[in-house]
Amino acid sequence: MRISLAITFTVGALLIALFFIPNYQAQAVNAKILEWATIVYAFALILGSISLWNTHWRKVKTQREGWPYSVVTMTALVIVTGLGVWQGVGEGSLVSRIYNMVNSPLASTMFALLAFFIASAAFRAFRARNVEATLLLVTAVLMMIGRVSIGEFIWKGFPGFTEWLLDVPNLAAKRAIAIGVGLGAVSTALKIILGIERSYLGRSR
Protein backbone atom coordinates (compact mmCIF):
# COMPACT_ATOMS: atom_id res chain seq x y z
CA MET A 1 0.00 0.00 0.00
CA ARG A 2 2.78 2.47 0.95
CA ILE A 3 4.67 1.78 -2.28
CA SER A 4 1.49 2.40 -4.34
CA LEU A 5 0.86 5.67 -2.51
CA ALA A 6 4.47 6.77 -3.02
CA ILE A 7 4.26 6.01 -6.77
CA THR A 8 0.96 7.91 -7.05
CA PHE A 9 2.37 10.90 -5.19
CA THR A 10 5.63 11.00 -7.18
CA VAL A 11 4.00 10.60 -10.62
CA GLY A 12 1.10 12.97 -9.82
CA ALA A 13 3.35 15.71 -8.42
CA LEU A 14 5.88 15.25 -11.26
CA LEU A 15 3.25 15.53 -14.00
CA ILE A 16 1.74 18.66 -12.45
CA ALA A 17 5.20 20.21 -12.23
CA LEU A 18 6.08 19.22 -15.82
CA PHE A 19 2.92 20.88 -17.11
CA PHE A 20 4.24 24.25 -15.89
CA ILE A 21 7.95 23.84 -16.70
CA PRO A 22 8.73 24.91 -20.29
CA ASN A 23 12.38 23.69 -20.13
CA TYR A 24 13.13 21.32 -23.04
CA GLN A 25 14.62 18.62 -20.82
CA ALA A 26 11.54 18.67 -18.60
CA GLN A 27 9.37 18.41 -21.70
CA ALA A 28 11.45 15.46 -22.95
CA VAL A 29 10.68 13.66 -19.67
CA ASN A 30 7.03 14.58 -20.13
CA ALA A 31 7.06 13.14 -23.67
CA LYS A 32 8.65 9.91 -22.42
CA ILE A 33 5.95 9.51 -19.74
CA LEU A 34 3.31 10.10 -22.41
CA GLU A 35 4.83 7.29 -24.47
CA TRP A 36 4.42 5.05 -21.44
CA ALA A 37 0.80 6.14 -21.26
CA THR A 38 0.26 4.88 -24.84
CA ILE A 39 1.68 1.49 -23.81
CA VAL A 40 -0.63 1.43 -20.78
CA TYR A 41 -3.59 2.20 -23.10
CA ALA A 42 -2.64 -0.77 -25.29
CA PHE A 43 -2.52 -3.07 -22.27
CA ALA A 44 -5.87 -1.69 -21.08
CA LEU A 45 -7.32 -2.73 -24.45
CA ILE A 46 -5.97 -6.27 -24.03
CA LEU A 47 -7.25 -6.38 -20.45
CA GLY A 48 -10.67 -5.15 -21.63
CA SER A 49 -10.83 -7.82 -24.33
CA ILE A 50 -9.90 -10.57 -21.83
CA SER A 51 -12.50 -9.29 -19.38
CA LEU A 52 -15.16 -9.20 -22.13
CA TRP A 53 -14.24 -12.77 -23.12
CA ASN A 54 -14.38 -14.03 -19.50
CA THR A 55 -17.75 -12.41 -18.80
CA HIS A 56 -19.38 -13.92 -21.88
CA TRP A 57 -17.63 -17.26 -21.48
CA ARG A 58 -19.13 -17.60 -17.96
CA LYS A 59 -22.54 -16.76 -19.39
CA VAL A 60 -22.25 -19.43 -22.10
CA LYS A 61 -20.87 -22.04 -19.68
CA THR A 62 -23.75 -21.60 -17.22
CA GLN A 63 -26.26 -21.13 -20.10
CA ARG A 64 -27.67 -18.01 -18.47
CA GLU A 65 -30.53 -16.13 -20.13
CA GLY A 66 -29.45 -14.67 -23.47
CA TRP A 67 -26.31 -16.85 -23.73
CA PRO A 68 -26.59 -17.22 -27.55
CA TYR A 69 -25.92 -13.45 -27.79
CA SER A 70 -22.71 -14.02 -25.86
CA VAL A 71 -21.68 -16.59 -28.46
CA VAL A 72 -22.24 -13.96 -31.18
CA THR A 73 -20.15 -11.42 -29.22
CA MET A 74 -17.30 -13.88 -28.70
CA THR A 75 -17.34 -15.02 -32.33
CA ALA A 76 -17.31 -11.41 -33.54
CA LEU A 77 -14.45 -10.56 -31.18
CA VAL A 78 -12.31 -13.46 -32.43
CA ILE A 79 -13.11 -13.02 -36.13
CA VAL A 80 -12.69 -9.23 -36.30
CA THR A 81 -9.52 -9.23 -34.17
CA GLY A 82 -8.07 -12.13 -36.19
CA LEU A 83 -8.86 -10.50 -39.53
CA GLY A 84 -7.45 -7.17 -38.33
CA VAL A 85 -4.17 -8.77 -37.26
CA TRP A 86 -3.95 -10.91 -40.40
CA GLN A 87 -5.08 -8.46 -43.10
CA GLY A 88 -4.83 -5.04 -41.48
CA VAL A 89 -7.63 -2.50 -41.20
CA GLY A 90 -6.90 -0.31 -44.22
CA GLU A 91 -9.19 0.61 -47.10
CA GLY A 92 -10.61 -2.45 -48.89
CA SER A 93 -9.67 -4.86 -46.08
CA LEU A 94 -12.26 -7.31 -44.78
CA VAL A 95 -12.37 -5.50 -41.40
CA SER A 96 -13.09 -2.24 -43.17
CA ARG A 97 -15.90 -3.92 -45.15
CA ILE A 98 -17.36 -5.52 -42.01
CA TYR A 99 -17.23 -2.09 -40.37
CA ASN A 100 -18.95 -0.32 -43.25
CA MET A 101 -21.57 -2.99 -43.92
CA VAL A 102 -22.36 -4.26 -40.41
CA ASN A 103 -21.13 -2.00 -37.62
CA SER A 104 -21.93 1.34 -39.22
CA PRO A 105 -25.59 0.62 -40.14
CA LEU A 106 -26.22 -1.14 -36.80
CA ALA A 107 -24.85 1.73 -34.74
CA SER A 108 -26.80 4.30 -36.79
CA THR A 109 -29.99 2.24 -36.48
CA MET A 110 -29.66 1.99 -32.71
CA PHE A 111 -29.31 5.75 -32.42
CA ALA A 112 -32.12 6.42 -34.91
CA LEU A 113 -34.50 4.30 -32.83
CA LEU A 114 -33.98 6.75 -29.97
CA ALA A 115 -36.14 9.33 -31.76
CA PHE A 116 -39.16 7.02 -31.47
CA PHE A 117 -38.60 6.18 -27.81
CA ILE A 118 -37.85 9.79 -26.86
CA ALA A 119 -41.13 10.91 -28.51
CA SER A 120 -43.11 8.28 -26.63
CA ALA A 121 -41.32 9.04 -23.33
CA ALA A 122 -41.80 12.81 -23.78
CA PHE A 123 -45.54 12.33 -24.30
CA ARG A 124 -45.85 10.36 -21.06
CA ALA A 125 -43.26 12.12 -18.86
CA PHE A 126 -43.68 15.83 -19.72
CA ARG A 127 -46.70 16.52 -17.48
CA ALA A 128 -47.34 19.84 -15.74
CA ARG A 129 -47.87 18.37 -12.27
CA ASN A 130 -46.17 21.19 -10.33
CA VAL A 131 -44.45 24.56 -10.91
CA GLU A 132 -40.99 23.08 -11.59
CA ALA A 133 -42.36 20.50 -14.04
CA THR A 134 -44.40 23.21 -15.80
CA LEU A 135 -41.32 25.40 -16.14
CA LEU A 136 -39.36 22.50 -17.62
CA LEU A 137 -42.23 21.63 -19.94
CA VAL A 138 -42.68 25.17 -21.27
CA THR A 139 -38.94 25.66 -21.79
CA ALA A 140 -38.62 22.29 -23.55
CA VAL A 141 -41.49 23.04 -25.93
CA LEU A 142 -40.15 26.53 -26.70
CA MET A 143 -36.66 25.17 -27.34
CA MET A 144 -37.96 22.30 -29.47
CA ILE A 145 -39.82 24.69 -31.74
CA GLY A 146 -37.44 27.63 -31.61
CA ARG A 147 -34.25 25.69 -32.37
CA VAL A 148 -35.49 24.23 -35.66
CA SER A 149 -36.23 25.90 -38.98
CA ILE A 150 -40.01 25.79 -38.50
CA GLY A 151 -39.68 28.04 -35.44
CA GLU A 152 -38.55 30.90 -37.64
CA PHE A 153 -41.38 30.11 -40.04
CA ILE A 154 -43.92 30.43 -37.17
CA TRP A 155 -42.46 33.61 -35.64
CA LYS A 156 -39.43 35.58 -36.87
CA GLY A 157 -38.30 36.30 -33.31
CA PHE A 158 -38.29 32.65 -32.21
CA PRO A 159 -34.61 31.89 -33.00
CA GLY A 160 -33.51 35.10 -31.27
CA PHE A 161 -35.57 34.25 -28.19
CA THR A 162 -34.12 30.74 -27.91
CA GLU A 163 -30.63 32.16 -28.48
CA TRP A 164 -31.24 34.50 -25.51
CA LEU A 165 -32.37 31.53 -23.40
CA LEU A 166 -29.16 29.70 -24.30
CA ASP A 167 -26.84 32.69 -23.97
CA VAL A 168 -28.12 34.15 -20.70
CA PRO A 169 -29.84 31.78 -18.23
CA ASN A 170 -28.30 28.62 -19.70
CA LEU A 171 -24.78 30.04 -19.94
CA ALA A 172 -24.90 31.34 -16.37
CA ALA A 173 -25.86 27.89 -15.08
CA LYS A 174 -23.29 26.17 -17.29
CA ARG A 175 -20.51 28.44 -16.01
CA ALA A 176 -21.48 27.74 -12.41
CA ILE A 177 -21.48 23.98 -13.09
CA ALA A 178 -18.13 24.17 -14.95
CA ILE A 179 -16.49 26.05 -12.04
CA GLY A 180 -17.93 23.55 -9.57
CA VAL A 181 -16.75 20.57 -11.61
CA GLY A 182 -13.29 22.13 -12.06
CA LEU A 183 -12.85 22.74 -8.33
CA GLY A 184 -14.16 19.24 -7.61
CA ALA A 185 -11.67 17.69 -10.04
CA VAL A 186 -8.76 19.62 -8.49
CA SER A 187 -9.80 18.61 -4.98
CA THR A 188 -10.22 14.92 -5.96
CA ALA A 189 -6.84 14.93 -7.75
CA LEU A 190 -5.15 16.45 -4.70
CA LYS A 191 -6.83 13.92 -2.40
CA ILE A 192 -5.53 11.06 -4.58
CA ILE A 193 -2.00 12.51 -4.88
CA LEU A 194 -1.79 13.14 -1.12
CA GLY A 195 -3.10 9.67 -0.31
CA ILE A 196 -6.31 10.87 1.38
CA GLU A 197 -8.52 9.17 -1.22
CA ARG A 198 -7.44 5.52 -1.51
CA SER A 199 -10.47 3.72 -2.96
CA TYR A 200 -8.68 3.30 -6.34
CA LEU A 201 -6.28 0.88 -4.62
CA GLY A 202 -9.11 -1.55 -3.95
CA ARG A 203 -10.39 -2.79 -0.61
CA SER A 204 -7.61 -3.10 1.99
CA ARG A 205 -7.51 -6.37 3.91
Binding site: N30, T38, E91, A107, R127, R147, V148, I150
Partner: protein, 273 residues
Protein backbone atom coordinates in the same frame (compact mmCIF):
# COMPACT_ATOMS: atom_id res chain seq x y z
CA UNK B 1 -64.06 6.26 -22.58
CA UNK B 2 -63.95 9.98 -23.36
CA UNK B 3 -61.81 11.50 -26.12
CA UNK B 4 -59.41 12.98 -23.55
CA UNK B 5 -58.95 9.64 -21.80
CA UNK B 6 -58.28 8.04 -25.18
CA UNK B 7 -55.58 10.61 -25.89
CA UNK B 8 -53.94 9.85 -22.56
CA UNK B 9 -54.01 6.12 -23.28
CA UNK B 10 -52.79 6.46 -26.88
CA UNK B 11 -50.94 3.38 -28.14
CA UNK B 12 -47.25 4.14 -28.39
CA UNK B 13 -47.19 2.50 -31.83
CA UNK B 14 -49.34 5.43 -33.00
CA UNK B 15 -46.64 7.83 -31.73
CA UNK B 16 -44.02 5.76 -33.55
CA UNK B 17 -46.09 6.01 -36.73
CA UNK B 18 -46.35 9.83 -36.44
CA UNK B 19 -42.60 10.10 -35.88
CA UNK B 20 -41.85 7.73 -38.76
CA UNK B 21 -44.03 9.72 -41.15
CA UNK B 22 -42.69 13.03 -39.81
CA UNK B 23 -39.17 11.88 -40.62
CA UNK B 24 -39.81 10.15 -43.94
CA UNK B 25 -42.10 12.65 -45.69
CA UNK B 26 -39.77 15.73 -45.54
CA UNK B 27 -36.79 13.56 -46.51
CA UNK B 28 -38.66 12.36 -49.59
CA UNK B 29 -40.13 15.78 -50.42
CA UNK B 30 -37.83 18.48 -48.97
CA UNK B 31 -39.52 21.80 -48.16
CA UNK B 32 -36.28 23.76 -47.65
CA UNK B 33 -37.45 25.66 -44.57
CA UNK B 34 -35.68 28.97 -43.78
CA UNK B 35 -32.42 28.77 -41.84
CA UNK B 36 -30.76 31.68 -40.06
CA UNK B 37 -27.01 31.50 -39.51
CA UNK B 38 -26.35 32.01 -35.78
CA UNK B 39 -23.33 34.03 -34.52
CA UNK B 40 -21.51 30.91 -33.27
CA UNK B 41 -21.60 29.23 -36.69
CA UNK B 42 -20.79 32.52 -38.41
CA UNK B 43 -17.74 32.85 -36.12
CA UNK B 44 -16.58 29.35 -37.09
CA UNK B 45 -17.06 30.17 -40.78
CA UNK B 46 -15.23 33.49 -40.50
CA UNK B 47 -12.30 31.91 -38.64
CA UNK B 48 -11.68 29.55 -41.57
CA UNK B 49 -12.44 32.30 -44.09
CA UNK B 50 -9.79 34.54 -42.51
CA UNK B 51 -6.98 32.00 -42.98
CA UNK B 52 -4.61 32.82 -45.84
CA UNK B 53 -4.40 30.36 -48.74
CA UNK B 54 -1.99 27.48 -48.04
CA UNK B 55 -2.48 27.56 -44.25
CA UNK B 56 -2.42 24.21 -42.46
CA UNK B 57 -5.52 22.98 -40.68
CA UNK B 58 -5.65 19.99 -38.34
CA UNK B 59 -9.10 18.38 -38.33
CA UNK B 60 -9.83 15.77 -35.67
CA UNK B 61 -13.03 13.92 -36.49
CA UNK B 62 -13.71 12.13 -33.23
CA UNK B 63 -17.03 10.42 -33.79
CA UNK B 64 -18.54 7.07 -34.68
CA UNK B 65 -21.58 5.91 -36.69
CA UNK B 66 -24.08 6.55 -33.86
CA UNK B 67 -23.69 10.30 -34.32
CA UNK B 68 -22.90 10.38 -38.02
CA UNK B 69 -26.33 11.82 -38.90
CA UNK B 70 -25.27 15.08 -37.26
CA UNK B 71 -21.51 15.07 -37.63
CA UNK B 72 -20.91 13.62 -41.09
CA UNK B 73 -22.75 16.40 -43.01
CA UNK B 74 -20.98 18.90 -40.72
CA UNK B 75 -17.59 17.34 -41.52
CA UNK B 76 -18.26 17.43 -45.26
CA UNK B 77 -19.34 21.09 -45.14
CA UNK B 78 -16.32 22.17 -43.06
CA UNK B 79 -13.92 20.13 -45.22
CA UNK B 80 -15.38 21.62 -48.38
CA UNK B 81 -14.87 25.09 -46.95
CA UNK B 82 -11.21 24.30 -46.19
CA UNK B 83 -10.70 22.90 -49.69
CA UNK B 84 -12.40 25.89 -51.33
CA UNK B 85 -10.01 28.15 -49.43
CA UNK B 86 -7.06 26.02 -50.65
CA UNK B 87 -6.03 25.15 -47.09
CA UNK B 88 -3.83 22.13 -46.37
CA UNK B 89 -5.90 19.64 -44.40
CA UNK B 90 -4.44 17.09 -41.98
CA UNK B 91 -7.21 14.77 -40.78
CA UNK B 92 -7.03 12.42 -37.81
CA UNK B 93 -9.46 10.51 -35.62
CA UNK B 94 -9.08 9.48 -32.00
CA UNK B 95 -11.93 6.98 -32.19
CA UNK B 96 -11.32 3.38 -33.30
CA UNK B 97 -14.42 3.33 -35.51
CA UNK B 98 -13.64 6.79 -36.88
CA UNK B 99 -11.62 5.91 -40.02
CA UNK B 100 -14.70 4.32 -41.63
CA UNK B 101 -16.38 7.73 -41.54
CA UNK B 102 -13.45 10.09 -41.99
CA UNK B 103 -12.35 8.42 -45.21
CA UNK B 104 -15.69 8.85 -47.04
CA UNK B 105 -16.06 12.39 -45.68
CA UNK B 106 -12.66 13.34 -47.08
CA UNK B 107 -13.36 11.56 -50.35
CA UNK B 108 -16.75 13.25 -50.86
CA UNK B 109 -15.43 16.73 -49.99
CA UNK B 110 -12.23 16.32 -52.02
CA UNK B 111 -14.09 15.04 -55.09
CA UNK B 112 -16.58 17.91 -54.89
CA UNK B 113 -13.79 20.51 -54.64
CA UNK B 114 -11.37 18.71 -57.02
CA UNK B 115 -8.65 18.07 -54.45
CA UNK B 116 -6.06 15.30 -54.29
CA UNK B 117 -4.86 13.14 -51.42
CA UNK B 118 -1.34 13.93 -50.20
CA UNK B 119 -1.22 17.08 -52.32
CA UNK B 120 -4.12 18.93 -50.71
CA UNK B 121 -5.00 16.73 -47.76
CA UNK B 122 -3.84 13.73 -45.79
CA UNK B 123 -5.51 11.28 -43.44
CA UNK B 124 -3.26 10.06 -40.64
CA UNK B 125 -5.76 7.54 -39.29
CA UNK B 126 -6.67 6.45 -35.77
CA UNK B 127 -4.50 6.71 -32.70
CA UNK B 128 -5.49 5.74 -29.16
CA UNK B 129 -5.17 8.02 -26.15
CA UNK B 130 -6.73 11.47 -26.31
CA UNK B 131 -4.28 13.41 -24.13
CA UNK B 132 -1.22 11.51 -25.32
CA UNK B 133 -1.83 12.40 -28.96
CA UNK B 134 -2.87 15.98 -28.25
CA UNK B 135 0.17 16.74 -26.08
CA UNK B 136 2.39 14.65 -28.37
CA UNK B 137 1.49 16.92 -31.30
CA UNK B 138 3.20 19.72 -29.38
CA UNK B 139 6.45 17.76 -29.64
CA UNK B 140 6.24 15.95 -32.98
CA UNK B 141 3.40 14.75 -35.19
CA UNK B 142 5.78 12.15 -36.68
CA UNK B 143 6.36 10.61 -33.25
CA UNK B 144 2.61 10.03 -32.93
CA UNK B 145 2.02 9.11 -36.57
CA UNK B 146 5.17 7.88 -38.33
CA UNK B 147 2.98 6.78 -41.29
CA UNK B 148 -0.44 7.86 -42.53
CA UNK B 149 -3.59 5.72 -42.72
CA UNK B 150 -2.37 4.17 -45.98
CA UNK B 151 1.05 3.32 -44.47
CA UNK B 152 2.84 6.11 -46.37
CA UNK B 153 5.71 7.61 -44.32
CA UNK B 154 4.87 11.20 -43.41
CA UNK B 155 8.12 12.45 -44.95
CA UNK B 156 6.94 11.17 -48.35
CA UNK B 157 3.69 13.16 -48.20
CA UNK B 158 4.09 16.54 -49.95
CA UNK B 159 1.72 18.53 -47.71
CA UNK B 160 3.47 17.23 -44.57
CA UNK B 161 6.81 18.78 -45.59
CA UNK B 162 7.83 21.19 -42.85
CA UNK B 163 4.80 20.32 -40.72
CA UNK B 164 5.64 18.51 -37.50
CA UNK B 165 3.94 20.15 -34.53
CA UNK B 166 1.33 22.68 -33.45
CA UNK B 167 3.87 25.36 -34.32
CA UNK B 168 3.21 24.59 -38.01
CA UNK B 169 -0.56 24.36 -37.69
CA UNK B 170 -2.69 27.47 -38.09
CA UNK B 171 -6.04 26.15 -36.92
CA UNK B 172 -7.35 23.10 -35.09
CA UNK B 173 -10.90 21.90 -35.79
CA UNK B 174 -12.47 19.24 -33.63
CA UNK B 175 -15.71 17.62 -34.78
CA UNK B 176 -16.78 15.39 -31.95
CA UNK B 177 -19.54 13.61 -30.09
CA UNK B 178 -17.57 13.16 -26.89
CA UNK B 179 -15.39 14.72 -24.22
CA UNK B 180 -12.52 14.81 -26.73
CA UNK B 181 -13.49 18.47 -27.15
CA UNK B 182 -12.60 19.16 -23.49
CA UNK B 183 -9.09 17.83 -24.08
CA UNK B 184 -8.61 19.79 -27.30
CA UNK B 185 -9.55 22.91 -25.32
CA UNK B 186 -7.17 22.00 -22.48
CA UNK B 187 -4.21 21.11 -24.65
CA UNK B 188 -4.44 22.54 -28.18
CA UNK B 189 -6.11 25.83 -27.20
CA UNK B 190 -4.94 26.52 -23.64
CA UNK B 191 -1.52 24.91 -23.48
CA UNK B 192 -0.31 25.33 -27.06
CA UNK B 193 -2.34 28.51 -27.79
CA UNK B 194 -3.81 27.23 -31.04
CA UNK B 195 -6.94 28.69 -32.60
CA UNK B 196 -9.71 26.10 -32.10
CA UNK B 197 -13.13 25.55 -33.67
CA UNK B 198 -15.55 22.95 -32.37
CA UNK B 199 -18.31 20.99 -34.07
CA UNK B 200 -20.43 18.97 -31.67
CA UNK B 201 -23.73 17.13 -31.43
CA UNK B 202 -26.73 19.29 -30.51
CA UNK B 203 -27.01 17.94 -26.96
CA UNK B 204 -23.37 18.76 -26.24
CA UNK B 205 -23.25 22.21 -27.81
CA UNK B 206 -24.39 24.25 -24.80
CA UNK B 207 -21.61 22.71 -22.66
CA UNK B 208 -19.09 24.61 -24.76
CA UNK B 209 -20.73 28.05 -24.80
CA UNK B 210 -18.59 29.29 -21.86
CA UNK B 211 -15.44 28.60 -23.89
CA UNK B 212 -16.70 30.84 -26.68
CA UNK B 213 -16.90 33.88 -24.47
CA UNK B 214 -13.47 33.10 -23.01
CA UNK B 215 -12.16 32.89 -26.63
CA UNK B 216 -10.68 29.44 -26.01
CA UNK B 217 -13.02 28.30 -28.78
CA UNK B 218 -13.41 30.65 -31.73
CA UNK B 219 -16.52 29.13 -33.30
CA UNK B 220 -19.03 26.42 -32.57
CA UNK B 221 -21.12 24.38 -34.98
CA UNK B 222 -23.77 22.58 -32.94
CA UNK B 223 -25.70 19.56 -34.21
CA UNK B 224 -27.56 19.16 -37.45
CA UNK B 225 -28.87 22.72 -37.19
CA UNK B 226 -25.33 24.07 -36.96
CA UNK B 227 -24.33 21.89 -39.92
CA UNK B 228 -27.35 23.17 -41.90
CA UNK B 229 -26.37 26.77 -41.07
CA UNK B 230 -22.83 26.03 -42.26
CA UNK B 231 -24.18 24.52 -45.47
CA UNK B 232 -26.32 27.62 -45.99
CA UNK B 233 -23.30 29.86 -45.41
CA UNK B 234 -21.44 27.77 -47.98
CA UNK B 235 -24.35 27.92 -50.42
CA UNK B 236 -24.74 24.15 -50.37
CA UNK B 237 -27.84 22.01 -50.06
CA UNK B 238 -26.51 18.93 -48.33
CA UNK B 239 -27.76 16.26 -45.95
CA UNK B 240 -27.92 18.66 -42.99
CA UNK B 241 -30.36 21.04 -44.69
CA UNK B 242 -32.41 18.11 -45.94
CA UNK B 243 -32.38 16.66 -42.42
CA UNK B 244 -33.49 19.92 -40.82
CA UNK B 245 -36.89 19.71 -42.57
CA UNK B 246 -37.43 16.28 -40.99
CA UNK B 247 -36.11 17.42 -37.61
CA UNK B 248 -38.43 20.45 -37.68
CA UNK B 249 -41.53 18.38 -38.34
CA UNK B 250 -40.62 15.78 -35.70
CA UNK B 251 -40.06 18.53 -33.11
CA UNK B 252 -43.47 19.99 -33.92
CA UNK B 253 -45.10 16.54 -33.59
CA UNK B 254 -43.45 15.97 -30.19
CA UNK B 255 -44.42 19.46 -28.99
CA UNK B 256 -48.02 18.91 -30.12
CA UNK B 257 -48.13 15.53 -28.39
CA UNK B 258 -46.83 17.07 -25.16
CA UNK B 259 -49.35 19.92 -25.30
CA UNK B 260 -52.19 17.53 -26.17
CA UNK B 261 -51.20 15.15 -23.37
CA UNK B 262 -51.18 17.96 -20.82
CA UNK B 263 -54.53 19.34 -22.04
CA UNK B 264 -56.04 15.87 -21.75
CA UNK B 265 -54.58 15.41 -18.27
CA UNK B 266 -55.91 18.82 -17.20
CA UNK B 267 -59.45 18.08 -18.45
CA UNK B 268 -59.64 14.56 -17.02
CA UNK B 269 -58.31 15.56 -13.57
CA UNK B 270 -60.82 18.46 -13.41
CA UNK B 271 -63.67 16.12 -14.29
CA UNK B 272 -62.62 13.55 -11.70
CA UNK B 273 -64.49 13.84 -8.37
Amino acid sequence: MSVMSRILAIDRRMIFLFIGLGTAVPLLWPVNLPITVTPRVEAAYQTIEALPEGSTVLIAMDFEPDTMAELLPMSIAVLRHCFRKNLKVIAITLYPAGPGLVEPALRIAATAEHKERNKDYTFLGYKSGFQTVMIGFGESIRQQYPVDFYQTPLDSIPIMKGVDSYAHIDLVINLTASSAADYWIQFAASRFHKALILGTTAVMATDYYPYLSSRQVLGLVGGMKGAAEYEKRMDLFGDARRGMDAQSLVHVIIALLVVLGNAALFVTTRKAP
